[in-house]
């Protein structure tokens, strides 16, 4: 019966709405007002009705009525309220409203300072600002100032709450943070904290949190501001108390976290260690709502991301690990993502914590599941968690192997992932390819070498870094065939490009890779026989480049390794240019370069090896012995020992000569 009635009702609605919509265009203000009120009442709480009146094209008319100063105030107010109601509709509705210039017009109308109109406009702006589509809107300095004027201590609660909410959503980047700070938003917001009403306090704290996120200057300003003579961090610490509403606790903890991460509060400050951290840990517990737990875990992840003391405290607090494992079982993306992030932070530095996390029942299964999750944010969070946990040598050899973690990781890497995911995944890969990792061999078989070689030519420096880094790890004490595979996959051209990389970290790891390729001694000759000229060219390239001593030291170390190879060392001895450079570095002001050069000389002149005498003679002719004897006066003990060792090689020969 009811079902049959529906088409009829819909028909009635369209018919009856047509007449009052027509009145919207009437010149008679009373008719117009009556029409808007009808529209307003019809659209409240009904997306279908919103859709219907928008389809009839009323938005431009509403905007016109709102904007037109000759229109009766009552009509303009109703227009603003109706727009605000439409702004609670679907994303399409909001997009339409924003594209019609609603926000600009509302801000303009605010300038008129008509009190009742201001209230309606602020509410409407609040609704619009909460929608993701319009949150990209930038507010000018004048706009912000105007808005803040309506948040003074004598304004109504509604206005204060509206302005705080608008600001909390508007503050998205450093530009807004600094702009807000420059118009004194921090002190206005700080004074609003005194208002004993959570509909004001919560958005105020959210705004403060947005303002200080990752912005040291603003964070310092905020932590020096006060409310009722109490400094903001201390005031927030009271809002964190357990008897406050959960949202209040969460936002206060988030703001304190941001203040800490931006450098305004130290990690050892009791407000962080004994208030903020325990509050967040508590809100992660099972008894709280999933949404609250997700925000708490995410904030906790950020709070403990870098400080190992905080990681340790969090790890023993309130059975956090099991609460987070439980959070992983939740259905929402936010919850699982937050739990992975929190695990990643907790396990970042401490082996014991990592072990405890991994030993938790089913955790690795969850991580592996997460790697293959259909949601990309969860995949990313899971990879980051895996990266953090992969720092454990023991786990690499045990749990990681048991779960064949490398398999989903390789799948992820080959599925053309986003740069962010690729960076995180390749970081984890670096650890999985360490010499002692059992995952190394199967991954080589799956073509990891080629994959990494491709990474090294990516435009993102962190991807190139991870690619070379992983290859360096892979080459360490690897078999000859792996090394050849690396060289083949990379190609000499690519190696030269990497040696000329603008990012020093990439250059350092490339040199490390070369060093691993030409060592140990047993591999040096073979590698040099195959790629000698290119390697020497690369080394010279670096030695001649405008690099720091730390970089050049790596190049000299490669020479030291080459000098260790029976036939490989001929690449040095036959290269006048390289020899001269070596000798010059023996007297270089940087001790690390002197040490490496002397070490290389020592390897070249090692007695008892074929051709040692000829090489010693050659070097002696170049004045090496004299330089070595001068270096004996050094105060650097490492250098002194190496010089003495090198001189011994010569001394033996001199003695023999003398005897004969």
């Amino acid at each position: 019966m009811l079902f049959e009635m529906q088409p009829f009702t819909a028909f009635m609605n369209v018919e009856s709405s047509r007449s009052y919509v027509d009145d919207l265009y009437s010149q008679d203000p009373n008719k117009c007002l009556a029409s808007i009120v009808c529209i307003k009442n019809s659209v409240i709480g009904s997306n279908r009705q919103k859709e219907s009146v928008i389809a009839q094209g009323i938005v431009p008319r509403l905007i016109y009525l709102l904007k037109d100063k000759t229109t009766k105030v009552a009509v303009r107010i109703e227009a603003a309220v109706t727009i605000g109601s439409l702004a609670k509709g679907t994303e399409d509705h909001i997009e339409l409203l924003v594209n019609c210039g609603c926000i600009e017009i509302l801000l303009e109308v605010l300038e008129e300072n008509e009190p009742r109109l201001v209230d309606a406009c602020l509410c409407c702006l609040r609704t619009l600002s909460q929608q993701s589509y319009s949150s990209t809107r930038k507010y000018s300095l004048a706009n912000l100032q105007k808005l803040l004027n309506f948040a003074g201590p004598k304004e109504s609660l509604q206005r204060q709450s509206c302005v705080a909410t608008i600001i909390s959503f508007a503050c998205k980047s450093a530009a807004e943070q600094n702009a807000l700070c420059s118009v004194g938003a921090h002190s206005i917001l700080a004074s609003l904290l005194a208002i004993q009403n959570y509909s004001v306090r919560i958005p105020v704290v959210t705004s403060l949190a947005s303002m200080c996120w990752n912005n040291q200057v603003v964070a310092n300003e905020i932590s020096n501001a006060s409310c009722k003579d109490i400094k903001i961090p201390n005031f927030l610490a009271t809002l964190i108390s357990r008897d406050r509403p959960i949202e209040m606790q969460l936002e206060a903890a988030r703001c304190l976290t941001n203040l800490h991460r931006a450098g305004a509060i130290q990690a050892y400050d009791p407000i962080i260690t004994y208030r903020t951290l325990p509050c967040l840990v508590r809100l992660c517990q099972v008894e709280h709502l999933e949404t609250h737990r997700a925000v708490a875990a995410d904030t906790l992840a950020y709070l403990t991301e870098v400080d190992s003391d905080l990681q340790q405290v969090a790890a023993i607090s309130n059975q956090l690990v099991s609460a987070l494992v439980d959070l992983l079982k939740c259905s929402s993306v936010a919850a699982r993502q937050a739990a992975f992030r929190a695990f990643a932070s907790l396990g970042a530095n401490d082996e014991d914590i990592r072990k405890r996390i991994i030993d938790t029942k089913c955790l690795m299964d969850r991580v592996v599941d997460g790697l293959g999750d259909e949601n990309k944010d969860i995949r990313l969070a899971a990879v980051r968690c895996l990266h953090s946990l992969s720092r454990s040598v023991q786990q690499l050899r045990t749990t990681f192997q048991d779960h064949s973690v490398w398999r989903p990781l390789m799948t992820l890497l080959t599925e053309s992932p986003s740069t962010e995911l690729l960076t995180a995944a390749s970081s984890a890969l670096c650890n999985l390819l360490l010499e002692f990792s059992p995952a190394k061999e199967p991954m080589i078989q799956q073509g990891v070498v080629q994959l990494l070689a491709t990474l090294t030519s990516q435009s993102d420096p962190s991807l190139r870094l991870n690619g070379v880094w992983a290859l360096m790890n892979l080459a360490f004490q690897a078999e000859q065939r792996v090394k050849s595979q690396i060289l083949t996959a990379l190609g000499t051209d690519q190696i030269f490009r990497l040696l000329a990389d603008s990012d020093t970290r990439v250059l350092m790891k490339t040199l490390g890779l070369l060093r691993n390729l030409v060592s140990p001694r047993t591999h040096t000759d073979t590698m040099m026989a195959l790629h000698g000229p290119q390697v020497m060219q690369g080394v010279v390239l670096v030695l001649e480049g405008p690099h720091t001593p730390e970089v050049k030291e790596q190049a000299l170390c490669i020479l030291g390794n080459i000098a260790d190879g029976e036939r490989a060392r001929d690449h040095i001895m036959s290269n006048e240019d390289v020899l001269k450079k070596l000798i010059d570095y023996m007297t270089h002001p940087a001790p690390c370069l002197q040490e490496s050069a002397v070490f290389c000389i020592n390897n070249l002149t090692r007695r008892g090896e074929p051709g040692a005498i000829e090489r010693q003679t050659r070097l002696k002719d170049l004045g090496v012995v004299n330089i070595l004897q001068q270096l004996l006066s050094t105060s650097d003990t490492i250098l002194f020992n190496r010089v003495k060792a090198a001189l011994t090689q010569f001394a033996d020969r001199l003695a023999v000569e003398y005897i004969f």
């Binding site: 008897d243 840990v281 508590r282 023993i316 607090s317 309130n318 059975q319």
Partner: protein, 473 residues
Amino acid sequence: CSIYFKGWDKQSYGYHGDDGHSFCSSGTGQPYGPTFTTGDVIGCGVNLIDNTCFYTKNGHHLGTAFTDLPPNLYPTVGLQTPGEVVDANFGQEPFMFDIEDMMKELRSRTRLEINDFPVPESQGEWQAILNKMVSTYLVHHGYCNTAEAFAHITEQPFNEDIVSIKNRQKILKLVLAGRMGEAIEKTSRLYPGLLENNQNLLFMLKCRQFVEMVNGSDIEICYKKSIGGYSPNFNTSPRPNSPVQTSVIQSTKSFSNKGKQTVEEMNQQNVAHNGTSCLNQTTIINTDDSDVEMDISDEVQNGHGDTCMNGRNGSTNNCYQNGNSHGNNITHELKICCDNEDEDMDVDVPCRKISSKPAVERILEFGRELYSMSQRLNIDKNSNELNQKMLEDAFSLLAYSNPWASPVGWQLEPSQRESVCASLNSAILESDNKPRKPPLEVAMAHAQELVKLMSSTGLGSCAFASLVDILDQ
């Protein structure tokens, strides 16, 4: 709950430092927290509401260790290494862990639980019951106008007998003002037979009357014959509510025993147990002024500055209290005024002469009447003993030169009138076939008893369920 070894035995629970495990009545532990050693501060908290237990390490909450704990646990600590020392803190110093924050949460949780406690449909209309309770309370205590206004606002029918309420109110006001003679007279006029049938109550009222005579509050002293209680000649009396009224006894003694006492001596005595002279002086003026108006209004207890009507006004109230204000019932406000010079008091001295001598004789006469009444009253043993005690206490007042400072002086405090007032009120209501106690007070008393019962049964939330705290919010 304890720290070491404990937890292995039955009904014992522990957290071990060597492996960080928790032990619940068994030899095998569960992984619980971090290990701990010399220098660490370990805390143990038992939540008597949830019957759970948690430990802390260096001020960090380690999470719930045990649930469903039995009652009556005792703290113990076990040590393994000889010579090891443990400092125990039971709260004599601040805890490292922020226990106060947790208490706040439990307190607000208990409060929420009480506030949100569901009232089943079967219990009837909750709001209507509450309204009824409030209005019966107001009626019971004779707040006639308030009761009427409340009924009006809450849209309840108001069928109470207003005249009856007003009558009760008048009598109770007299009692609270210490004017027992008038109160008794009015009661027997309005409720004939009530006191005759309740000799114990009458005796109690008479005893009180005796006390009030000593106090100087009862009109009977001077105006025995003015039965009506509205005696217009009141105003003719020079300063009936004389500020330095002190005790009639005292004044008498100073005349009879010492003959002439110097004015100064008297003043000193006055200051000793009165000390509110200056303020009283002004008060009197005010009262006198208002008397003019009051005479016009129909309901006046003039002369004595009618405590009841102006009862809220501290200074007026003091008119009744003065003379027996031994410091402890002087309000702070009054104390400020005490430092004023004595000059004013000279003025007051003569008035004592006026009220003294006949008053004492009258008291003694009244005492004899009271005694003979007690002799006639031999009902049952229990109430007899009570009556005897009451009489002795009252008569003892005469034995002291300064009754207010005497060991039986407590009887003279105006607050003692309240219990007499309540008894009389209850008796009147009972005679009207109404409850002796209003339902609101019954409910309060009931709730208070229940909280005590919670405590003795081991329900922890009673700590946060104090009736006063909850009503204070």
